[in-house]
């Protein structure tokens, strides 16, 4: 079925809402009344509902199957959290309602902040960043402000070569120059290279831990000390926090700032690409520089400090990440998740995530090839050595998984591994589900190696679409519908 665009389905004179026609005068419009039509199509409610139901049916989802995207943490999204986020006292509360009318919401933010700081062992948290990359920016701006407060000028940021693209992008966005630190053959930070590159002009070292190869950085405490000794700050990318939450406190590792992807570790739904939320926990050294707004408690209850007027003692906010107070809807979901799991459940979830990934690694490492020695953390990394001479690429293999009812794993990331395949089953999968997945991958791998490559050729075949021409799309971009 080819579902048309709403612009092709709609027609003038039709409408999916019933609103009265009112006549308004021009008196208070300053001559700015719209002259032409907008061009929006008209559709009745039944047509709109069917259109979007049909479109949804062309999507894969975690509710319908295992979603083994390494570094994305596609775990179960409890519906309780959706229900809680829709409580009118949260979902229908205006961000500029008086503090007296907002106590419940402020209490929720306060409670979530307590969970985040307690779990991470860090003294402070900036709640307002709206996604992981936004959290990185927040952390780097706090570092920048701290460096400036010390009267120093440090304009370099170091990142490992295996880093997520957001790390260098954010550092550049925050006005730093970026330099890469090499990886060892064991897939971890090369301490010698780090030592060479650290210096009085380095503001921060950004490290994902567990790292993007799915490994825990064994020398992390040494790394933190090296960075601190050089006068820099240690930024930890919390993308992989799901492996260690409830068991390891980043604060104990010497981390100065770490963003937490609530949509990964704490299961707010990915929603087809957002919204996320990326609160940043901060060390004692950075806490004072947290951005506005600040949440404080006094005798009248909780209140927000939203401007530089009336700051509490010592606060030196570097600025503001966005209007209002952050992703409240995601906060409610995350707290609902945390309360449900409890400290014991969060720890168990981390352990199960790691257990599942190692189970996948152990079960597949003989038919596929793993570039690094295990154990891994919550994701299992393979390279494409084992596909050599088969004519099958990582891409082919991943796309063929679609025909078996699975979303592909993360491919070609991290960049340090050739033809990388990064598999993260998460703690939400049953053993039976993981076993089926392993069985399918094993079967496919053996076929590929045996030269039975038909299924890989131009896969997928059973999806709503065959492979799409991405080159044509970017060569001559068609970014909106045009009549005719």
């Amino acid at each position: 079925h080819e579902e048309k665009l709403i612009f092709e389905l709609g027609r003038s004179g039709q409408c999916g809402v019933d609103l009265e026609e009112v006549t308004v005068s021009d008196d208070r419009l300053g001559g700015l009344r719209r002259k032409g039509a907008i061009g929006l199509p008209g559709l009745s409610e039944p047509e709109v509902v069917r259109h979007y139901v049909r479109l949804s049916q062309q999507n894969y989802s975690i509710d319908a199957g295992l979603y083994p995207l390494g570094s994305c943490t596609m775990k179960h999204n409890p519906r309780l959290n959706e229900k809680m986020a829709r409580l009118p006292g949260f979902g229908d509360l205006h961000p500029l309602a008086p503090a007296s009318a907002s106590q419940g919401a402020l209490e929720l933010i306060s409670e979530l902040a307590k969970w985040l700081t307690t779990l991470t062992g860090m003294p402070a948290v900036a709640m307002s960043p709206k996604a992981g990359a936004h959290g990185e920016l927040c952390g780097l701006l706090a570092i920048r402000a701290a460096v400036e407060a010390r009267g120093e000028k440090r304009l370099r940021v170091l990142v490992p070569e295996s880093a997520h693209g957001t790390n260098p992008a954010t550092a550049a966005f925050a006005g730093f120059t970026v330099e890469e630190v090499k990886a060892t053959p064991e897939g971890r930070v090369d301490l010698d290279d780090l030592r060479i590159k650290l210096g009085p002009d380095v503001a921060a070292f950004m490290l994902t831990n567990p790292n993007t190869c799915g490994l825990f950085e064994r020398d992390i405490i040494t790394i933190a000390e090296m960075v601190h000794d050089a006068g820099g700050y240690f930024y930890c990318d919390g993308a992989n926090y799901n492996a260690i939450a409830g068991r390891v406190r980043p604060g104990d590792l010497g981390v100065d700032a770490m963003h937490i992807n609530l949509h990964k570790t704490f299961s707010t739904p990915h929603g087809g690409g957002g919204p996320g939320a990326g609160p940043v926990v901060l060390s004692e050294r950075l806490a004072a520089f947290a951005p506005l707004p600040l949440l404080v408690a006094d005798k009248d209850g909780l209140r927000l400090i939203e401007t530089r007027e009336g700051l509490p003692g010592g606060a030196k906010p570097f600025g503001r990440m966005s209007a209002f107070h952050g992703q409240m809807g995601m906060f409610v979901r995350a707290l609902s998740y945390m309360l449900s799991h409890g400290r014991d459940g969060i720890r168990q979830a981390s352990e199960d995530a790691v257990l599942s990934a190692n189970y996948v690694l152990a079960s597949l490492k003989d038919v596929m090839s793993a570039p690094f020695e295990g154990p891994c953390m919550h994701e299992a990394l393979f390279d494409d050595t084992w596909l050599k001479d088969t004519g099958v690429t990582t891409l082919d293999f991943a796309k063929a998984m679609i025909d078996e009812g699975y979303h592909p794993m993360t491919m070609y990331f991290p960049l340090v591994v050739h033809g990388a395949m990064l598999i993260e089953p998460t703690e939400s999968e049953s053993k039976e589900s993981v076993d089926s997945f392993i069985h399918v991958l094993k079967t496919m791998a053996l076929e590929a190696k045996a030269g039975q490559t038909e299924r890989f050729d131009g896969a997928p075949r059973l999806a709503p679409r065959r492979r799409l021409d991405e080159t044509a799309a970017s060569r001559k971009p068609v970014l909106k519908w045009k009549e005719g």
């Binding site: 419009l29 907002s102 957001t166 957002g274 919204p275």
Partner: protein, 447 residues
């Protein structure tokens, strides 16, 4: 632990396959000193659904929902009626629990929605192209300024005094890193002379309309002035419903238009998640931040959609990317698109007219209250009043009477003594005549 499918027996079997005796062995790379027992966390253990629901419901009950009382709050977030179908559809598993559509063969649902969204945003704003959404209006504005700095290779950004102060602060936080930001002072109810501030170092001028006080800003003159200096005009719209009644920024010469899209499809949510709309001219498309969805064909020649122009993005370009953003506000954009599809041309323009009419009715009634005057001679669904006493006190007094009267200008700009008595008031289709009368009566009582 209802969310964790592994049983003890499963775990034992898996450990055996792996060849280790306990899960602790899998954490062997973690320094022993850094491992803590669960008792180290001063937090409760897991709880059942009923207990969690009770706790959160009790918390929520301590706030006053906008729908529960007469509410006239605006200043960047607006209470509108969202059709029930919207929330139903966005909760479908296939939308709610899917990832970013990097695998287009099994993500056409999300992708086609984004293509429709981009088209709608381009139509509303009167621009050539739009992206697949940003976090919200404020961060979108900051991105717009950075984009103008990139496009013009100039550093200076001039912000109108009518720009929402929290937007201005968001812009300053990042744009000062790559240039300088000049904020014109606010002159409530009037347009400042921005044109005279523009010079050949200027990357852009940012104007909000309706501005934070509700005043409608004509854009043609400033567009001309800005363009004559080779700079860009960035137009910010925090109430996207206004575009149903008012001329689009694109038609008035804007180069980048940023809107907060919360009004359509999305709840107030105490400030987030919201959805930033971002549109620009065709020629700047490769300098845009954020995801873009493009049309293409599949191997069988069928129309399909993909994320495109990703060479701008961080996962390819790393530190050379146009932005560090790798998330859009997908589900909020979906809600926006469904709501706008339900409205269509007729519904959207009627909705806008009703909003203006509600605000007009409210203004006329409020002006009967002694000592109250109107600061903004033009407005859409939001306006600013001057009160005979500090607005923050009046708001508190009315809140105690169960009326959320509006946003005191002093909350956004406490340093500006001239704004102390100003109250920013919004009305939408959700405000009944009874709401309005209750407000007027209560205001008389507290003044």
């Amino acid at each position: 632990m209802r969310y964790l499918p592994l049983t003890k027996a499963d775990r034992a079997a898996m450990l055996e396959t792996i060849g280790v005796v306990s899960v602790d062995a899998l954490f062997k790379d973690v320094p022993k000193a850094a491992e803590v027992p669960v008792s180290a966390f001063d937090l409760p253990d897991h709880q059942g659904e009923l207990a969690v629901e009770r706790k959160l419901a009790a918390m929520a009950a301590k706030s006053t929902a906008s729908g529960a009382v007469p509410s006239f709050l605006g200043a960047g977030a607006y209470k509108h009626h969202v059709p029930a179908a919207v929330d139903h559809l966005i909760q479908r598993s296939e939308f709610l629990t899917s990832y970013t559509p990097y695998q287009p063969e099994i993500s056409q649902g999300t992708l086609q929605v984004l293509f429709e969204f981009q088209t709608q945003v381009a139509m509303l704003t009167g621009m050539d192209v739009a992206n697949a959404s940003l976090y919200d209006g404020s961060t979108g504005t900051a991105e717009a300024v950075l984009m103008a700095q990139r496009v013009t290779k100039r550093g200076k950004a001039i912000l109108s005094g009518g720009l929402h102060p929290q937007y201005a602060e968001t812009v300053e936080t990042v744009a000062n890193l790559h240039g300088s930001v000049l904020r014109a002072p606010a002159i409530p109810g009037a347009e400042e002379d921005l044109a005279s501030l523009v010079d050949d170092q200027t990357a852009c001028v940012v104007v909000q309309t309706p501005d934070v006080f509700g005043l409608l800003r004509g854009l043609k003159n400033i567009a001309e002035a800005v363009h004559s200096k080779g700079a860009l005009l960035i137009v910010v719209v925090t109430e996207v419903v206004s575009l149903g009644l008012l001329e689009s920024p694109g038609a008035q010469g804007a180069d980048i238009v940023v809107c907060e899209g919360q009004s359509l499809g999305n709840g107030l949510n105490f400030g987030g998640p919201y959805v930033g709309l971002f549109a620009t001219r065709e020629k700047y498309v490769r300098q845009m931040p954020g995801r873009l969805c493009g049309q293409t064909v599949d191997a069988e020649g069928r129309r399909g959609f993909v994320l495109t122009l990703s060479t701008r993005e961080q996962h390819i370009r790393r530190d050379k990317a146009t932005s560090n953003i790798c998330t859009n506000s997908g589900l909020c954009a979906l809600a926006f698109t469904i709501h706008l599809s339900l409205l269509g041309e007729g519904g959207f323009t009627r909705l806008a007219a009703i909003n203006h009419q509600r605000a007009t009715t409210l203004v006329d009634k409020l002006l009967t209250v002694p000592g109250v005057s109107l600061v903004t001679s033009t407005f859409f669904n939001e306006f600013t009043l001057r009160l005979p006493k500090p607005a923050a006190e009046v708001v508190e007094a009315l809140a105690a009477k169960g009326i959320l009267a509006g946003v005191p200008a002093s909350r956004l700009a406490p340093a500006d003594r001239d704004q102390r008595d100003l109250l920013i008031v919004a009305a939408t289709e959700t405000n009944t005549d009874e709401d309005i009368d209750a407000f007027v009566t209560a205001l008389k009582e507290v003044l």
